[in-house]
Subunit: 357 residues, 2 copies
C-alpha cells in the first residue's frame, strides 16, 4: 500500500473529506493543522468546496504549503441513503476522498460524513479484499486498561462462521496496528446461559478459532460485560448484535452522565462537592469518551470513519490514527491469516463408521 | 390463576425458595419479614432446610405465624447445569417452590437460585402456555422516566417472527401489571443502518405488529440506546441480542462506577468534594440499580427470578413484585392477545396475477 504514492512524492499522504460531518471545513481544516503539527513529513489531500476550504486555510498559513486541494461541487448529505449515494455520489467530496486511495494518490482516507454512504462508496471504489458483503465497522470501547476493539458494529447483519473468523483476523490486526500491542487477545461474543451456548454460527466459529490454524491468541467465548472489562483486547460478533450492544452501552453511559449531573446539582452542599470534584469529573468524562475514529475493514485500502459530531481534537486524532495504521504491517497481517482461512474452514472429517452421506 | 388457592384459605400465597442465591435463608428470611410487613393478608410457603429456616425465623416472631415451612433435604447448586437440574432436581427447594404453583398451593414462586436451572425446572413442571421453547426472561432497565421492560434476555437464542411477537405480547402485559401503566408503548430492537434494516425475522415481526391485529401500542423499530432513553416502555428482541445488550449495559455501568470512584478519590480536594456529594451519589447509585426481580414469561404460572447476590431489601422487593403481578390481569391479557396471534401470522395474500405457487 505505502509504496504506491503516485503523483505525490512525499511518503505519507492522507486523503480528507473536508465537507463531511456536522461542521464541515470549519472543524476539518483546524483539525488538519493540529494533526500535521505532530506529523512532520505528511501531506494532506483536501476534497471539497475550494472557496470554503481556502477561506479556512487562510487562518492556518503553515498548513497551506502541505495540502493539495481537489475541488468538488457536491457533497453527500448526512441523511442520504447508501443506494442513492452510490448512484449519484461520483464527484462528491466523499467519493473523491476514497478514489484518491485507489488512484494511488493517498494511503488512507478520513471522512466524518454519512456512515452508510461511506461504506457503500468505499466498497464500490476499493472493492472488498476479504469475502465480505460490505466493510466491517470497528468500535473502540474504553476499558480499565485502555480500549477494546469491538467489531462488527453495524455493517454485516447476517454472519456465518467464516465471516466471524474474518472479523477476528481483521480486528486483531487493527488492534495491533492502532495500539502497538504485539499479540492482542481475541474473544468471541456469546450468551452466558450454560445450556445453549449461542447460535450454530458462533459455536462453529469458536471451533475454527480454537483449532489454531488461524494464527491468533484466541481466548474463547466472552460475554457482553467483558467488552468494558477488557477481558480480551478484541471482541468479535455479528453486525446486528454488535450495533445493538454498542448503542446500548453508549445509551447507558449517556443516561448515567445525565443522572449524575442531576444528582450533583441537587442542593448547595452537593453542588459545592461537585465543584470541588470538577477536574476529576472532567478527566473521568474524557476517559469514558471512546476514540472518535472507526476503520472500515476488509477493503483494498484504509478508510476511517470519524463520528459526525467530531470536534477539532477528535478529527485530528482520526487523522493520526489513519497515519499510524497505514504505516503499520496491518494489511500484510490480515492477508497472511486470510490465506489460512480456507484450510481452517474445512469441516471436521466425519467418523468413517457413519455411513450416511 | 388467583381463584385456585388450594388447601390454603388465604387469598394470596407466595412460594419461596429459601435456599437459593448466594446467601440462602440468612437473607431470604429477613426479606420475607420485610415484604410481609407491607402485605397484611399474604402468606408465604417456605421451601428448604427446616432447621436452617427455623433458626432464622426465631428472630422474626411475627413472621412465623404467617409462614408454612416445607422441608427439603436438597438444593440446586448455583453452578449446576440445567439438564442435570431437571434430572435430579425433584425434591430440591427450588423444585418444590415451583411445584407449589402447579398444585395450587401458591399463586407465584420466587427464587434467587441458578437461572438456567430455574427456567428448566419451571418449564418441566408448569409447561409453556405460549408456543415457546423455553420461558422468556425479562430485564427491567432504568430510564429517565422509570424502567424499560426488556426481553428476551437470555432464554431463546433463535427467534422467528412469531416468537418476537409473543415477546411483545408478554412484555407488554408484564409492564402493565408490574408498573400500573394502562397501555405501555412497545418497540422492536433493530440496527440503525438505513440500507439493511435488520434480519428477515425482525422485518417480518415489525410487519405483523404494524398491522394491528395484535392489540398493542406498537411504535416500530428502536435502537440500542433507546433501552435506557425510555423511548418506549417495552423493548423486544431475541434472547441472544438481549442477553448481550443487557450485560454490555451492566458492564458499561460498572466500569463507569469504578472509574468515577477512582476519579473522586484522586486527591484531597476532590475527595472532600466527593464526601460532600455522597448522599446524592448514593441516590444516583440506587437509581441506576435495576429492580432485582425478573419474571419468567410464557409459563402456566408466575415464577420470578431474583438475582443471586440480592440483599434483604432486593429479595423483599421481588416478593412484592410477585404479589403485584399475580393479582393483576396479567395472565388474561396475555391469553387474549395470544389468541389473536394465529390470525396475525397469516402471510400477506400474494397478488392474484402472480401465477407461480
Amino acid at each position: 500500500m505505502g509504496d504506491e504514492s503516485g503523483d505525490l512524492t512525499l511518503p505519507l499522504v492522507i486523503s480528507i473529506d473536508a465537507m463531511g460531518g456536522d461542521h464541515g471545513p470549519s472543524v476539518v481544516i483546524p483539525a488538519c493543522a493540529r494533526a500535521l503539527a505532530t506529523m512532520p513529513t505528511a501531506r494532506l489531500l483536501l476534497h471539497g468546496d475550494e472557496p470554503a476550504i481556502r477561506s479556512e486555510l487562510a487562518r492556518h498559513r503553515d498548513l497551506s504549503a502541505r495540502c493539495d486541494i481537489r475541488h468538488s461541487d457536491r457533497v453527500i448529505a448526512m441523511d442520504e441513503k447508501p443506494a442513492q449515494a452510490m448512484r449519484r455520489g461520483k464527484g462528491t467530496s466523499m467519493w473523491n476522498a476514497v478514489e484518491a486511495i485507489r488512484e494511488g494518490h493517498a494511503i488512507a482516507a478520513v471522512s466524518a460524513g454519512n456512515t452508510g454512504a461511506l461504506m457503500a462508496i468505499s466498497k464500490l471504489i476499493l472493492r472488498m479484499s476479504a469475502d465480505l458483503d460490505r466493510p466491517a465497522l470497528v468500535a473502540s470501547v474504553p476499558n480499565p486498561n485502555g480500549v477494546t476493539t469491538f467489531l462488527d458494529v453495524g455493517a454485516n447483519v447476517d454472519c456465518n462462521a467464516a465471516r466471524l473468523v474474518e472479523f477476528a483476523i481483521m480486528g486483531e490486526a487493527y488492534h495491533r496496528a492502532a495500539h502497538g500491542v504485539a499479540r492482542p487477545t481475541v474473544g468471541l461474543l456469546n450468551v452466558g446461559s450454560e445450556e445453549m451456548k449461542g447460535h450454530e454460527e458462533v459455536r462453529e466459529a469458536n471451533r475454527i478459532l480454537r483449532e489454531g490454524v488461524i494464527d491468533l491468541d484466541y481466548r474463547g467465548f466472552v460475554e457482553g460485560d467483558d467488552i468494558t472489562a477488557g477481558t480480551v483486547q478484541v471482541v468479535v460478533t455479528d453486525g446486528f448484535t454488535g450495533n445493538v450492544a454498542l448503542k446500548a452501552m453508549e445509551g447507558a453511559a449517556r443516561f448515567m452522565y445525565d443522572e449524575l449531573g442531576t444528582a450533583l446539582t441537587s442542593g448547595p452542599v452537593t453542588s459545592l462537592g461537585a465543584l470541588l470534584a470538577r477536574p476529576s469529573l472532567r478527566r473521568f468524562r474524557d476517559k469514558m469518551s471512546p476514540p472518535p475514529a472507526a476503520p472500515l475493514l476488509g477493503l483494498n485500502g484504509l478508510v476511517l470513519k470519524c463520528h459526525g459530531g467530531a470536534d477539532e481534537r477528535e478529527f485530528a486524532n482520526a487523522i493520526l490514527a489513519a497515519s499510524d495504521v497505514a504505516q503499520s504491517g496491518f494489511a500484510a497481517d490480515i492477508e497472511q491469516n486470510m490465506r489460512r482461512l480456507p484450510q481452517a474452514l474445512v469441516p471436521v472429517t466425519p467418523a468413517p463408521a457413519d455411513g450416511a452421506a
